[in-house]
């Protein structure tokens, strides 16, 4: 049995279904990130774990105990809110110790626990300040401090970094990872930012439309997405999707034609009977620019289009081109690839290309592997 089990959980507000049959198990000590666009139900799921939201059907259990009906305060969870939710009329010390004081814990215990949390979060010098006198990052740390003193079994973070500026966000991300390493406590983190999810997560849970789309390690999800949504959501710039059709499938693989309106290739996948419309997924880094009159690699796939935009980011640049059928394709290029306009050619690493069926599901070989 996993540490935290979410089994067939659904949530509806009236007739509006927000979460639909969510199944998820989380191991002790994991850093789990729920990621998805706004409205995908990730925050609701987090709030259901905390107990702030009731479960419409299904069960949530922590360490084998079903907690559906357990009071939020008694679940052994602690939450850090996006708005920090610090009490403006209390000092840092009073904010951090609020829960302990409400439970009438002895004064020495409170002082000791707050001191410990303050040491971990470097809040020692801020204990007498009120939230209005703290910076954004400091408020964030106080909010975490308030969670730490509760010594929870699970930390819950609801988009905790989205009110911070970009630089501070990167810094706080590192602090959070460090905190997780030192405390070793299970953490569940909700964000809409896939970069944040990729950098923080041991286990990443991609959600959309109230359903879990895929669960896995960040790189697994990046390399081996289960469906078109996950493939498109994870990674920046986004994966290119090229309309195509499957001509026939044999033991050699699937022959795909009409890629971007023109190209044709064979994918080493064994999917007998696949025909009709499909989509061809390519990450920008799996396309290599062919500069000048460089010859086309043997047996490879070549895409050719008109350059519409070049984004130069310093270390690399991205070329956006339109294929004959109007599909926009992004290609990652080195900075020495001086592209200005006109036509542009890129060769495709076919072994890295992904195939999606018309319903958006990934088309894999029988072994399910991509190699």
């Amino acid at each position: 049995m996993a540490f935290l089990d979410i089994s067939s959980v659904s949530k509806a507000f009236g007739t509006l279904s927000v979460l639909d049959d969510v199944n998820l198990s989380i191991d002790r000590g994991e850093f789990v990130v729920f990621v998805g666009p706004s409205g995908c139900g990730k925050s609701t799921l987090l709030r259901m774990i905390s107990g702030l939201e009731t479960v419409s059907s299904g069960t949530i259990s922590i360490e084998g105990e079903i907690v559906n009906e357990v009071e939020p305060a008694l679940r052994g969870t602690a939450m850090v809110f996006q708005s920090y939710a610090l009490y403006p009329h209390m000092t840092t010390f009073q904010n951090v110790s609020f829960g302990l004081r409400m439970a009438h814990r002895p004064r020495e215990v409170i002082a000791k626990k707050v001191q410990q949390a303050a040491a971990i979060l470097r809040l020692d010098k801020l204990l007498e300040r009120k939230p209005a006198q703290l910076s954004g990052g400091q408020k964030q740390r106080v909010a975490i401090g308030r969670a730490i003193v509760r010594e929870p079994r699970v930390f819950l973070f609801d988009e905790p970094l989205s009110n911070l500026d970009a630089e501070l966000r990167v810094q706080m991300r590192a602090e959070l990872m460090d905190l997780h390493k030192r405390l070793g406590t299970t953490m569940i983190y909700v964000t809409h930012d896939q970069v944040e999810a990729m950098t923080l997560a041991d286990k990443m849970v991609v959600m959309n439309g109230g359903r879990v789309q895929q669960v896995g390690k960040p790189l697994e999800i990046y390399d081996d997405p289960d469906n078109r949504f996950v493939a498109g959501f994870v990674g920046s710039p986004k994966m290119n999707f090229l309309p195509a059709y499957a001509i026939d499938a044999s033991s050699e693989g699937v022959r795909i034609g009409g890629i971007g309106g023109q190209a044709e290739t064979v994918l080493p996948l064994f999917v007998p009977g696949l025909t009709g419309k499909v989509e061809f997924g390519l990450r920008p880094e799996h396309l290599s620019p062919l500069l000048g009159d460089a010859p086309q690699p043997e047996g490879g796939l070549l895409l050719e289009g008109k350059v519409k935009l070049v984004e130069e980011l310093g270390a690399e640049s991205f070329v956006h081109m339109d294929l004959v059928d109007g599909t926009r394709v992004t290609v990652r290029a080195g900075r020495d690839a001086a592209v200005t306009g006109g036509t542009f050619r890129a060769s495709v690493d076919v072994r890295r290309a992904l195939l999606f069926a018309r319903d958006g599901q990934r088309v894999r070989g029988p072994s399910g592997s991509r190699k």
Binding site: S50, G51, L52, P72, A73, L74, T77, A78, M79, F81, Q82, S83, Y84, A85, L86, Y87, P88, H89, F98, G99, M102, A103, R146, R150
Partner: protein
């Protein structure tokens, strides 16, 4: 630029200042005059002392001393203060408990109940005063402090004002407290109340003003002289049948004015904001 503004100042600006000062005089003079009458030797003819400024401080003190010792004014003063204090405590406590729920939580019947209470703000006092008096009398509460205070405790205006304030408390903060294990009452006591302290102070002041100045309700509830409030005594002193001298009457008037004026001088910003809020957000 300076020369231009200098040339333009006198015409407009002088007229404006003149007007503003004149109106201030009209607004303040009756109060000022009341003070002058009290602090003047009794019996001086108006032709000799037109009471345009205080002329005898000891005479005023003597009159205040006299009114407290020779009449029942002191008791009325005490009754009025108690009436105000109990009403403030009750309105604040009962109102904030209800406002906490109406502003921050969802429960079946919430909008309906709140809607009914808000609708009552539209109902004129004229229609309720007689039946409320009859009920109070049936309860045997005539001439009691209960009778003065209790019927006025469910203040719809107070509830409205506190709900407006409490709505501004972020839901996250309430949830954080809940996760911290605070009980419902603890959230009310330690989170909601401190966060709407300003509104509570403003409501307390407005309730004081309203209670202290309430004339009609004490007039019909407190019919025995032992239960007279300041308003009733002042009314009696000023009535055509009164046998009090002008000096006594004015002293009574002045003393009745002092608590609210004092409150206003201390809390002027809160009072003005409270009234402005009830008008602009209503």
């Amino acid at each position: 630029m300076t020369s231009q503004s200098l040339r333009r100042i006198p015409v407009w600006s002088l007229a404006k200042w003149g007007l503003a000062l004149m109106i201030a005089a009209i607004a303040l003079f009756p109060i000022w005059w009341m003070i002058n009458v009290v602090f003047a030797l009794p019996g001086e003819p108006v032709s000799i002392n037109p009471r345009l400024w205080p002329t005898s401080i000891p005479a005023g003190i003597e009159k205040i001393h006299l009114i407290f010792t020779e009449t029942d004014y002191l008791r009325a003063y005490g009754i009025s203060l108690l009436y105000a204090a109990f009403t403030i405590a009750g309105v604040l406590l009962i109102g904030s408990l209800a406002a906490f729920e109406f502003a921050l939580f969802e429960f079946p019947g919430r909008s309906l109940l709140f809607g009914i209470v808000m609708l009552s703000l539209m109902v004129p006092t004229a229609v309720t005063i007689i039946p409320t008096y009859l009920l109070t009398s049936q309860l045997g509460w005539l001439n009691t402090m209960r009778g003065l205070v209790v019927p006025g405790l469910a203040s719809a205006f107070g509830l409205f004002m506190l709900v407006q304030f409490m709505r501004a408390i972020p839901k996250d903060m309430i949830e954080a407290a809940r996760l911290d294990g605070a009980s419902h009452i603890q959230i009310y006591r330690h989170v909601a109340l401190p966060l709407c302290r300003n509104a509570l102070v403003t409501l307390a002041i407005l309730t004081f003003m309203q209670t202290w100045g309430n004339y009609m309700w004490p007039l019909i509830i407190g019919t025995k002289p032992e239960m007279y409030t300041v308003g009733q005594v002042v009314g009696l002193f000023n009535s055509p049948l009164s046998h009090q001298t002008v000096d006594m009457v004015m002293t009574a008037n002045l003393l009745a004015a002092i608590p609210p004026l004092l409150f206003f001088l201390i809390f002027q910003r809160k009072i003005v904001e409270g009234i402005a809020m009830s008008g602009t957000k209503g």
